[in-house]
């Protein structure tokens, strides 16, 4: 049985507007890492929110989402709340908005434990510090007592990652987790995510507009365009033998390192005329 099974998922916002996600089906096996790529507005984040049950109330959803055999779509909020943060966790793009600016970092990480388990104050603090240490934060004891604004962007994203990893999740949904970070910090956070996923044997749905980043973390990749998947398969195969012209365009634009400096860069439109946005 697959860990996550999405079948014929459709999402609309409001009447008369084109669907944000159209007839989307995919599965993620335990420990598997699936990359979801596409331009802004292609439906990547809506897919993630639909799986987490975090879509806005005006969203209309049809189809089915099953996690470990349990129906998520249409499940009661209490049931979802039990899964979220424990078996199914999420890392957002912008760590400054994902963290509560008025709450010390340690308490925010501890909240994940308190919501799901009985744990004494001292034991909780020990586990928080241990996890902050594991995500590579220097001097974790000091970090627990810091507010988010006192940390750098990379440190904040490590804190968010610590919260996502705290209870040993089986699936982490990472929505552009390194897009707000500069390249050096991005490289460090990707390495950390890679190592932690391996250590926990956790599966991952990794969302990004950056093919190079997806290729760094995932084995499988799915290319989304205007709410539908146009191509999917092993990363190696999709990147070396892309079939859909849109995928070919994405790959060409991602290879800035191959371009002659100053020469005209290839764009998606050179390959796929409908890709104008």
């Amino acid at each position: 049985m697959s860990l996550l099974e999405v079948n014929h998922l459709n999402v609309w916002f409001g009447r008369g507007r084109r669907p944000a996600v159209r007839d989307l089906s995919f599965t993620i096996e335990p420990g598997q890492r699936l990359g979801l790529i596409g331009q802004s507005g292609s439906g990547k984040s809506v897919t993630a929110l639909a799986v987490m049950g975090l879509l806005a109330e005006n969203a209309q959803v049809t189809g089915s989402v099953r996690f470990d055999g349990r129906r998520l779509l249409g499940a009661k909020e209490a049931e979802l709340a039990q899964l979220r943060g424990r078996d199914l966790t999420m890392v957002f793009q912008e760590p400054m908005t994902a963290l509560d600016p008025t709450m010390k970092v340690g308490r925010q990480v501890a909240e994940v434990i308190r919501l799901h388990e009985e744990s004494s104050g001292r034991e909780t603090r020990r586990r928080v510090i241990e996890m902050l240490d594991r995500v590579g934060l220097p001097n974790p004891g000091r970090i627990t007592d810091a507010f988010p604004h006192q940390l750098s962007g990379g440190q904040r994203q490590r804190v968010v990652l610590a919260m996502a990893l705290m209870l040993g999740p089986r699936l982490i949904i990472a929505d552009e987790p390194t897009t707000a970070l500069d390249v050096t910090v991005q490289a460090q956070v990707l390495e950390l995510l890679d190592a932690q996923l391996a250590a926990h044997q956790a599966a991952c749905l990794f969302i990004s507009h950056d093919l190079a980043v997806v290729a760094r973390v995932c084995q499988q990749v799915m290319v989304m365009l205007d709410g539908a998947v146009v191509e999917s398969g092993p990363v190696r195969q999709v990147l070396s033998q892309p079939v859909h012209p849109y995928t070919q365009g994405l790959i060409a634009t991602a290879r800035l390192d191959l371009a002659t400096p100053g020469a005209r860069l290839p764009t998606v439109e050179d390959f796929y005329a409908g890709g104008q946005r």
Partner: protein, 263 residues
């Protein structure tokens, strides 16, 4: 005549409780007309602080900046007018740098309505004609002028921001991470546009970026900053081929490349 001469410039930001943060520490840099400079470094390395000083949005704590061979004095109206008439800025995030309540046409022509610039006599006076010229230049349809920023995608919004910067016919374009808020696939379009415009209009460019691969594509000179200090600077290809410091090499190595996994 150099465009900018940055002479032992420092900028520190005070903190009441502890010692001040040294955002820039005795930086020297000379920018000649027509050069395309990339300023690179990690977050917090002082890139944006340097750009703000060049734009006249902030003043050094020590050292001085010469603009076209004359000391830049933000307290002196004529000095400031000379700077404002020839320098324009493009910011990182076109979502927040464009006023959501203004129509695109009004946003783009706003610099032309500046009393200071009009008095300097160096900006185009026919706003309508200039609006159409810059919309054409950045590849937006002329009817875009009647619409609002939220009706455009991120890449198109950055084109609007570039059109606004070009409207007063600047000689110098300063850009702070102009593509880092954009999708990789949209990045190529905007970089092509910047390259074309800088060449066609003979602009001097100073572009801040954390991504050396972006800088390498647009610039011919590079300045590498680390913790406020200038680590190295010079012709881009030399710094790229033979970086003098491990830090520069690390910045370059950190750029994710598709080829790493499957070539």
């Amino acid at each position: 005549m150099s465009v900018f001469a940055v002479e032992r410039v420092s900028r520190s930001f005070g903190r009441r409780s502890s010692r001040p943060v040294q955002a820039l520490d005795r930086v020297d840099l000379v920018i000649e007309p027509g050069q395309r400079w990339g300023v690179v470094g990690e977050s917090g390395s002082g890139k944006t602080t340097l750009l703000r000083l060049l734009a006249g949005l902030d003043r050094p704590s020590a050292g001085q900046i010469r603009f076209q061979d004359r000391p830049l004095d933000l307290g002196d109206q004529s000095s400031l007018t000379r700077l404002r008439a020839s320098v324009q800025l493009v910011f990182q995030d076109p979502q927040s740098s464009l006023d959501p309540r203004m129509r695109v046409g009004a946003i783009i022509t706003e610099p032309l309505r500046s009393a200071r610039l009009r008095r300097s006599g160096q900006v185009p006076t026919d706003a309508k004609a200039r609006l159409n010229e810059v919309l054409d230049a950045v590849g937006l349809p002329r009817e875009a002028a009647r619409r609002y920023p939220h009706e455009f995608s991120g890449g198109q919004r950055q084109r609007i921001a570039i059109a606004r910067a070009l409207a007063p016919k600047p000689d110098i374009l300063l850009a702070d991470e102009p593509v880092s808020a954009l999708d990789v696939s949209v990045r190529a379009q905007v970089l092509n546009l910047v390259n074309d415009l800088v060449q066609d209009m003979g602009l001097t460019l100073v572009m801040v970026s954390h991504d050396l691969s972006v800088v390498r594509h647009v610039c011919d000179q590079v300045a590498v900053l680390k913790a406020g200090r200038l680590v190295e600077s010079g012709p881009l290809e030399r710094v790229y081929q033979r970086p003098a410091s491990d830090y520069t090499a690390a910045l370059w190595a950190a750029v994710p490349r598709l080829g790493d996994r499957w070539d």
